[in-house]
Symmetry: C2
Subunit: 252 residues, 2 copies
């Protein structure tokens, strides 16, 4: 049973302001919560139905950390229109650029605004072995519940670092290659990739911003079939095709 | 100025029941509405702000077809949380399997449930030159405003046909190849594609259904990097990588 006060405390995390202030967020759904409980993230509390608790025997999870709630209560604390049977409150570690080991391929996101796109990109990045993503400061927040949900648990394993991209590129050691997608550029299937390539994806409608363009030393594009009237690909789709090509042809 | 009655009539199209009954839907946003006005779709009425009308000189659009609304009115008739400056009411033509010319590559969707995924798949299909998509009857509806929005206008050009997939495959002439994505299967980069291949994508969580599996004669998969803990790719991402590979290596 949740008190009114507790419901209102939890619901604060529906707002970006409080998520940022507390470095906490809400993670919902069985897959994501189970991934979370298997991770090093500090989980403060798990809320779920009696039914969920009984059907998931989880060694690390004792009744102290778990609060049984009714479906009605779940509706009040969930961020989702169709709440799931379980959710958790978790603190997010803050990573910085110095946490990134050298010689790893990097994915850089310049102003991705849609939480579904960011989440899908994180999920795809994990699939193709990108352990770190560098985001411009104006990318949508990782801790947005919609972002977290779209990662399908990958947020527990892929490390996302928010930073000023101009500074990041100024401090990136040459001659590391920076590859960006542009409407002009070489067809992606022609490119041979290096293990420490940096791959840059731009904003959903504006592409890669001008201030970043000057750091790109290889422009690539994903060719449309001739005569197609589609103007562009979705940002998470373009990222997926780029990462697929990287993984398919990176020099080992 | 919209009357209460008119607002309530338009708002009926927020519900699937009325969209299906009337074969009509609401299309929102400048890009989609402009694509629509350039298409053969029967557009019944366009609603937009004065500002939008004045900044878009559209030859086919006279004031008779266009109703100026205030932002407040737009909020009441829009399906979006953040309404755009323009929306249109349109009838959807119904295509059938007999409309599909022979010898074209086909994309088949088995139970795609998320409107964002379906819309993104339609957008990607157009990019890679797939003019027809065959959907199982339980796929999310094309006329869902979220689907339409995610297509970014491609719904005007890609033809989507809903049908019983078992019947469809029973009636498909051999020896046409049917390729499906499975967790097991040959790595997609090894596959050479034929111009009339049929590519099948399954449901977001269940994959390709059992009743359809028996029609698949080539199973492929998109390899994850070894050691990745990601369990799967998003359905629209997997489709995009499949269509990219088709277009990259189809025999001409």
């Amino acid at each position: 049973m949740l008190t009114k006060k507790r419901i209102s405390e939890i619901s604060k995390l529906h707002l970006k302001k409080y998520r940022e202030e507390l470095h906490q967020s809400i993670v919902e759904g069985t897959k994501s919560v189970l991934d979370l409980l298997n991770s090093d993230f500090p989980v403060h509390e798990v809320f779920g139905t009696e039914n969920w608790y009984n059907s998931h025997a989880i060694p690390h999870l004792d009744k102290k950390q778990f609060t049984v709630v009714t479906s009605k209560e779940m509706e009040r604390i969930s961020c989702l229109r169709s709440p799931q049977e379980v959710m958790a409150i978790v603190s997010f570690p803050i990573y910085t650029l110095t946490d990134i080991p050298d010689k790893l391929p990097l994915l850089v996101l310049d102003d991705i605004r849609d939480p579904g796109n960011l989440g899908t990109i994180i999920r795809t990045a994990e699939w193709f072995g990108f352990q770190y993503i560098v985001c411009s400061a104006n990318c949508v927040e990782l801790t947005n519940p919609k972002t977290l949900q779209a990662t399908m648990g990958s947020f527990c394993r892929v490390k996302v670092i928010y930073t000023d991209l101009v500074e990041f590129f100024q401090n990136t050691q040459r001659p590391r290659r920076v590859i960006g997608t542009f409407l002009e550029g070489r067809a992606i299937s022609e490119i041979a990739f290096q293990p420490d390539d940096i791959l840059v994806i731009g904003n959903e409608s504006m592409g890669i911003s001008e201030s970043i363009s000057s750091f790109i030393n290889l422009k690539v594009h994903i060719p449309a079939v001739s005569g197609s009237h589609a103007e562009s690909l979705n940002a998470s789709v373009a990222t997926a095709i780029l990462l697929y090509n990287f993984r398919d042809r990176v020099v080992k």
